[in-house]
Amino acid sequence: MSALLELRGVRAAHERITVLHGVDLSVRAGRVTALLGPNGAGKTTALRVAAGVHPVESGRLLLGGRDVTGARPRDLARAGVCLIPEGRGVFPNLSVRDNLLMMTFTGRSRAEVEEIAFARFPVLARRASQTAGTLSGGEQQMLALARGLATDPAVLLLDELSMGLAPLVVGRLYEQVAEVARQGAAVLVVEQFASAVLGIADEATVLVRGRIERRGRPDDGLRADLSALYLGSSP
């Protein structure tokens, strides 16, 4: 199966500081790819490049084989790329229902979006008219993830889904992510909490200081490498 989303030789910088030094990354349809690595490795920047939010210095971004380097986030979103950003990816001053309404720009109708979101996360139905900023952290993350589920994206990009959440909630959210991949989406997950995502990942890529250090199946060798990396000894 060919890659649905591909980064080729991407270099990206914050101001004058280069964060990605020529990263090659591809995500295939129906697979969950985990992007792992220590703090400051450039994981989030790689995701932001993939969604068109962060500009590339050089290199290319391909979507379904088409060069979409430099496309606006809005156009990528309408072409099926869905980034759930780090931190709560919801509009805090809008009600839950209005947040769901904001998920209809990519084609699904309001009724469909609400049906899917409420079926997957029944708690959202009970909170429908509440302001999103007043939901609990887990509920906000469910609402954010609902966009990934309800808009039927071709590519789902997730950044630190587990941040600040109880492990039980994290497990339930990742079950939903695996379900999205089973329906045919290409899923790329950035996660500090590696064990949470390795359970559902089909492959894993390790990014260290802006370079791909290793890629492969999420087996014991990779886990050992990772713990060495996080604990500071040389990989």
Partner: protein, 703 residues
């Protein structure tokens, strides 16, 4: 009873207009996050345009209405969004507010330029030829009925748009998180454009409806924003029903004050100032929060070196001497206010630059200083100057106390309301006694001001006052530099960066805020006293809110963290007076300039002083260029004093020499500097510099 109801109808129809304008404010705030100070000014412009089309060019009313509401207002809204807001979109809430203040100031100046304020422009009410109808015991004109109907229609339409449509949700979502809105596939730019078009149309409707009831005056119509903001604050800038309730309270209050306020020389101003007082009260009473989100940008506050501050102060004093000896005749009057206004601008440096408190009433504080000096300093007693500073400082502390609950743009709004209360009421009061002390203000006219006497000499001429003001500004600049270097200055910056952290570290935010307000007001008060000495006669108008806006804008453009702001703002404010000629358009041009400069904020958000410093530092540090420049300046001055050359030729010559020396110094440093080294090699291929750490930290923090 009938009279009561009749005033009620008048109040309700005014309230309807406030409701329309106030809901425009709410719309702009919830959909673009902009605190639109210029909303009333946009309505004012629409009213003038409507007058021009109907009364001026004789267009039929429906055509003129359509032209204003469907063509001109939307076009203006789009223009504002594109030209003013998009460049500052990535900056903070405060920067966007400064753009709106610039627009307010600019529109007033522009309207006065286009439509001569000395010509009366009556605008007929709608359906003026139809006889009013009776509703129960009261008579209602068709114009009043139309106004109320429009308000209800606007309310229903806006509510449905914001709460029932996807475009409404997208507009509100854009304020919450612009980037996330883009990620969902919405178009943030388009959402903003729609919001600005609608907001401007609402302002236009309000302006056209209210113009027949009040005089068509640029300033008065623009300041309707005070009443509209009061209404909007009732709705905490987000609830439309509460905004309507607020509008009813303000409208009826004004109407009943007109009807029932006893005849008394002290009270007419109270009616005019009532909306501002109510705004102040509403700001304090209604708990408000900012929209959630990180919308603040902290500018750098450079640390002046001791030597640099001394050299700067010496050059300010020298500049005063040069100006006093070089200028002649009318030019002394034209350029004299340089140092006093610079002093008022300098008061923004500790207050806004260091402590982050935005105040729009600094020129009003200057007015207090000027009044105190005019009364007590009539025979030149120097201690009266100290009293002027002290009284202004006490006034500053008095605003600070209630305003402690406010921060950011709300504080700006509160201080603007305070300035309006001073303009419309306090400064217009006749003299009165409190506890046996006679308190006199502007005596409902103008005041004569004399110069101080120092060491037995009376400084009464324009030249002496220029030198005196320059020396005062030099000393004040030194003081502010010392403040920045000292403990209190660092505390203020900590307070600005995080009030919570400041409090948890054991600081007392309350004390610090009151102190810095008092300090800022004291500096402004001194500036006002000097301004008065320079002008010789002062009126309340010279210290109004609208007169103070350009000073604020110039200071912001200079960069509020810089001690050099005093000299910069004074120069930038009086410098364009060079353009003044006998034609009246030159005065109008000069009046518009500060607003235009303010609108350029997006291009140098850290202020022009940062750039000036970067450009001129090589000269100041150069061992050849600096002495040569000093020599050129001294020589030019001697030539002028000896009357060997004319002023213009001299100015041109000195500028040319300075620019040439700058090029020379820049080329010398450039040849000495090593080529650009990539970041990862800093400290390896070239030595690690002191500022590198901060450059890296800021680069990473922005990621």
């Amino acid at each position: 009873m009938d009279q009561f109801l009749a005033f009620g109808v008048v109040g309700l129809s005014t309230a309807a207009i406030y409701a329309v304008i106030g809901s425009g404010l709410v719309l702009t705030y919830v959909t673009t996050g902009v605190f639109n100070f210029a909303h009333g000014a946009a309505g004012m412009l629409a009213a003038f345009a409507y007058w021009q089309l109907t009364a001026g060019w004789g267009w039929p009313v429906p055509v003129a209405l359509a032209a204003v509401l469907l063509v001109l207002a939307p076009a203006f809204g789009l223009l504002v969004e594109r030209v003013l807001l998009r460049p500052v979109q990535h900056l903070g809430e405060a920067e966007r507010m400064v753009m709106m203040v610039a627009l307010l100031s600019g529109l007033i100046a522009a309207a006065r330029w286009i439509w001569d304020p000395n010509v009366a422009r009556p605008l007929p009410a709608f359906f003026a030829d139809r006889t009013p109808f009776r509703a129960g015991p009261v008579t209602v004109t068709w114009h009043q009925a139309l106004t109320m109907a429009v308000a209800v229609a606007v309310a229903a339409g806006l509510w449905a748009l914001l709460n029932r449509t996807r475009s409404g949700a997208a507009m509100r979502a854009t304020v919450d998180d612009r980037a996330l809105a883009g990620l969902t596939g919405a178009d943030p730019v388009r959402a903003n454009q729609v919001a600005w078009v609608l907001g401007t149309q609402l302002a236009a409707v309000g302006g056209i409806l209210i113009a027949p009831a009040v005089a068509l005056d640029a300033q008065q119509l623009s300041l309707l924003i005070v009443s509209a903001y009061t209404a909007a604050i009732f709705g905490r800038l987000r609830s439309l029903p509460l905004t309507f309730l607020g509008a009813v309270v303000v409208g009826c209050l004004e109407s009943y004050l007109t009807g029932y306020l006893p005849q008394n020389p002290y009270l007419p101003g109270l009616r005019l100032a009532a909306p501002a007082l109510l705004l102040f009260a509403a700001l304090l009473l209604f708990p408000h929060r900012r929209l959630r989100g990180r919308d603040r940008r902290l500018a750098r506050v450079p640390l002046p070196s001791r030597r640099g501050a001394l050299v700067f102060a010496a050059s300010v004093a020298a500049a005063g001497v040069v100006l006093a000896t070089v200028l002649e005749g009318d030019d002394l009057v034209t350029f004299g206010p340089l140092f006093p206004l610079g002093m008022v601008a300098l008061s923004y440096v500790p207050l806004t630059g260091y402590a982050g408190q935005i105040s729009l009433c600094q020129l009003s504080m200057a007015g207090i200083g000027a009044v105190v000096w005019a009364h007590l300093g009539a025979d030149g007693r120097p201690w009266a100057l100290a009293v002027a500073v002290l009284v202004a400082a006490v006034a500053g502390a008095l605003i600070a106390l209630p305003a402690l609950r406010l921060s950011g743009v709300y504080l700006a709004l509160g201080t603007a309301a305070f300035a309006v209360v001073l303009d419309r009421w306090v400064f217009t009061l006749p003299s009165f006694d409190v506890l046996g002390v006679r308190i006199a203000l502007f005596e409902q006219g103008s005041l004569e001001v004399s110069g101080p006497s120092l060491l037995g000499a009376r400084l009464d001429g324009e030249r002496e006052t220029i030198v005196f003001s320059a020396v005062c500004l030099a000393l004040a600049s030194l003081g502010v530099a010392a403040l920045r270097r000292g403990r209190f200055g660092r505390r203020l910056i900590a307070l600005r960066d995080s009030e919570a952290a400041y409090a948890t570290l054991g600081g007392r935010p309350l004390v610090a805020r009151v102190a810095v307000f008092a300090l800022g007001a004291g500096i402004a008060g001194l500036g006002g006293a000097l301004y008065g000495m320079q002008l010789r006669t002062i009126t309340a108008d010279q210290f109004s809110l609208v007169a103070g806006l350009p000073v604020f804008l110039i200071a912001v453009i200079g960069g509020l963290g810089y001690v050099g702001n005093g000299l910069f703002s004074g120069t930038a404010f009086t410098g364009p007076n060079i353009l003044l000629g006998p034609a009246s358009w030159t005065q109008n041009l000069v009046a518009v300039l500060p607003a235009l400069a303010g609108m350029g904020l997006g291009h140098s958000p850290d202020g022009l002083l940062a750039r000036l410093r970067r450009d001129w530092e090589p000269v100041a540090r150069d061992r050849i260029a600096m002495p040569v420049l000093a020599l050129v300046l001294a020589l030019a001055w001697l030539l002028r004093v000896a009357d060997a050359v004319g002023g213009w030729a001299l100015l041109a010559g000195v500028l040319a020499a300075a620019l040439a020396l700058r090029e020379y110094a820049a080329s010398r440093t450039r040849s000495a500097a090593e080529p650009e080294v990539p970041v990862e090699w800093w400290g390896v291929r070239r030595p690690w510099r002191a500022e590198d750490g901060e450059v890296l930290a800021r680069g990473i923090a922005q990621g």
